[in-house]
Symmetry: C2
Subunit: 446 residues, 2 copies
């Protein structure tokens, strides 16, 4: 049996039971689904679109293997006619999307799927699974970048990310949001994300002498000598580098940095900086890790801690202060007719939509308009075609392009939204035509 | 390139750089690492061990493919001698572990790896990645089961789980912790976990008439007719079942249940129950979903809401109130000598350990003892050999056995620990010999 992320069975049961009903009723007309976030987490002033690339991969390759079809036949829930039909199932629809690295706000669709109903339906679970997570992590990561614009920022979160795919995709999402790289090797191998790493406490503990551990590490990684100095006594270890540095220098090896991973990081950093400077090691940088997030970075910066780089792990890769987005993938149109869910607190804007972004005379973003795709509005239309007949319209975008797009987007965001603290919402106007359509549907249903 | 979860590159860079140093220094002596949780989340009175099965899978199959070795050679960080050595790398060590489904507490190792240092080191990142997540979800899930002992509980979290593997493993962890099943199809196919599912709002919206949607669904899934009734007006939909039920009954189809997914669930459930009962549909069950967790279940139960089953999604699969464990995998012994990290706030108990669990005269758990593996204590020793020479000692345990073990464990836990509210910690005694060893090491180092 294929494993995630490649299995067509990585979906919710109800997608398949609904598909059987669509199959039996021959409901194959065109459906339009949109993915959007209903409400931003309180601690986010904007979100960063991410994950489109993996969605397109998924849509392009989605099919049921013989083994999966056998299982579906054997599980006793589906007719063999339906399972036979699934054998030929492919996604052949159209996708419009906001480019990765764009910022977006509540109620704004970042992805629109236009396909025969069964195709657009089946993909819901995995599509949300991909977009929710990467957008979550990109939106958290960018805040760390805003808190420490010039620091080296590295994703250290693999071990406490929720499973292997989360670790890999968190490395991607944090990198596209402005991190310098990740410690996760596979992210380097698959996505060419720059890799960073130092040493673990176990490395120091496995040696009888801390200094010997440093020396062995330096020999093995002469171009990347970052030494973890808090296993026993941080300042004592820093002091002993005075002895180690010249010894290594004679072999042409330079100590690049030290890492602090416990205690009062600001206080240790100040003391270690002093010790290093007095030893003539002012080029040795200080790197810190240990339960860090954007709030900690902001405090350390405000406190003037002489820290050059940060490793962010658990809190980044789990988006600890907001571990999910209130997002949805909703049917907005079927067989040419707009549709509207009205469940309490979960009502949606109906119809096939488009989103326009406006800038003021100085070039700053000053509001978006959400309207029907058939409308015309000034501003930049943000949903662009990315897939037609189940094939992507362009090759995968380099992560460097996505990074550059986000940097540019941030330069144009109103300054208040760049703060970590909650701010009044960015204005998203609902077009009069869209409001009218919603009211008409409400009046017409039942 | 292989994808997670199967790639040997799914690790932190520093594991490989440390390995190169171990290789160069020929540090291949036996190391003992232990995985434990430093501190329980405030909202957990106990944790449930989970994930061992996937750890053993990983250790048994771990190796570098030709493609991975090529990448390591090309990335410019490693010597070709070292990469050649990695070609033959396998895990051939020993593992002792607490069985899945046992409860455990702070500082208690649930897994011990005894292997040549490079083998025990490299696996750290993925091993934590697996154990942290499944233990997290099992420990959250069991609380939902405690809050609603007799309700049908289903994992609905795939879409907002952090990636595909998290979705799959959350289904496994919640099932072993007492859930009745999951909506994630792949979990049914891979782990034989019972599957549950109803229909989505899109199914209702794709039909021009709600009742027609219900009828089509019932025809397609005659044995599993659970109807989502909140798309437009919950009570109106419930009322119309009076008309639908006899029509379906004539075709031998029974409405099994309805699902509520929005609004005040207790209030809607009461009204819907009344409507159904008055229509002679008292056997139709009520299933609820929508932002549920153990606290919501407790409130709904206290409120007397007539709800028979619950779908738990986002908050369960992200363990939203505690999205990570403060866990570690630490070197406790190398080359026959115990080791102790002393970093501030992160000091560990050194040496190769064992854990004994005590019961009082009535059979209730009354405390654990953490001591050295060489000690003898009364009570049940919880770390048992599960792997030798890199081969598991027994076949994968059926999930039903793990479920039964946890049920038995819960019957023996002091009643206070079964409450959702924070309680005083369960007593874990550190043996005098272990305390002595820690003090000796502190005195000896530096």
């Amino acid at each position: 049996m294929k494993r995630p992320p490649d299995s067509a069975l990585l979906t919710d049961l109800y997608q398949l039971t609904m598909l059987q009903a669509y199959y039996e009723q021959d409901m194959q007309d065109t459906a339009v689904f949109e993915f959007f976030v209903r409400k931003l987490p309180r601690q986010r002033n904007f979100l960063v679109a991410a994950g489109l690339e993996q969605v397109l991969d998924y849509l392009e390759t989605l099919h049921f293997t013989a083994e999966e079809l056998d299982w579906l036949n054997s599980c006793g829930r589906f007719s063999s006619d339906f399972v036979d039909w699934l054998a030929g199932f492919r996604f052949r629809g159209e996708v419009r999307a906001m480019a990765e690295g764009r910022v977006f706000f509540a109620d704004e669709p970042i992805l629109q799927v236009i396909a025969p109903l069964p195709q657009a339906q089946l993909v819901e679970s995995r599509l949300i699974n991909i977009l929710n997570f990467q957008t979550l992590i990109a939106s958290k990561s960018v805040r760390a970048r805003l808190a420490a614009p010039d620091a080296l920022l590295v994703d250290f979160g693999m071990r406490r990310a929720h499973g292997g795919e989360a670790a890999l995709l968190a490395a991607r999402a944090s990198y596209l949001a402005g991190f310098d790289g990740s410690a996760t090797v596979l992210a380097g191998a698959l996505y060419s994300i720059p890799l960073f790493g130092t040493m673990a406490h176990s490395f120091v503990l496995a040696h009888d002498e801390e200094l010997l551990a440093f020396e062995h590490f330096a020999q093995a990684q002469p171009d990347n000598v970052v030494l973890l100095i808090d296993t026993y006594d941080t300042e004592a270890a820093a002091t002993r580098l005075q002895e180690l540095a010249p010894r290594l220098a004679r072999r042409g090896i330079r100590i690049k940095g030290v890492r602090l991973d416990s205690g009062d990081l600001a206080e240790h950093a100040r003391r270690v900086r002093r010790i290093l400077d007095q030893a003539g090691l002012s080029e040795v940088t200080i790197f810190a890790s240990g339960n860090l997030d954007e709030y900690a970075l902001q405090r350390l910066r405000a406190d003037g801690a002489p820290i050059d780089g940060f490793g962010l792990g658990t809190r980044l890769d789990t988006s600890a202060d907001a571990p999910s987005l209130d997002c949805a993938y909703k049917l907005e149109e079927y067989a040419g007719r707009p549709r509207r869910k009205r469940s309490e607190g979960k009502a949606t804007w109906p119809g096939r939509k488009q989103l326009w972004r406006h800038r003021d005379e100085s070039g700053l973003l000053c509001g978006d308009t959400l309207g029907l795709a058939t409308e015309e509005h000034p501003g930049e239309a943000l949903l662009r075609p990315v897939m037609r007949d189940g094939r992507r319209l362009a090759a995968a975008e380099p992560l460097s392009d996505i990074r550059a797009r986000l940097r540019q987007e941030l330069e144009r965001l109103p300054e208040t939204l760049l703060r970590l603290e909650p701010q009044p919402a960015y204005p998203v106007e609902i077009s009069p035509a869209l409001r009218r359509l919603a009211a008409e549907l409400d009046a017409a249903t039942h």
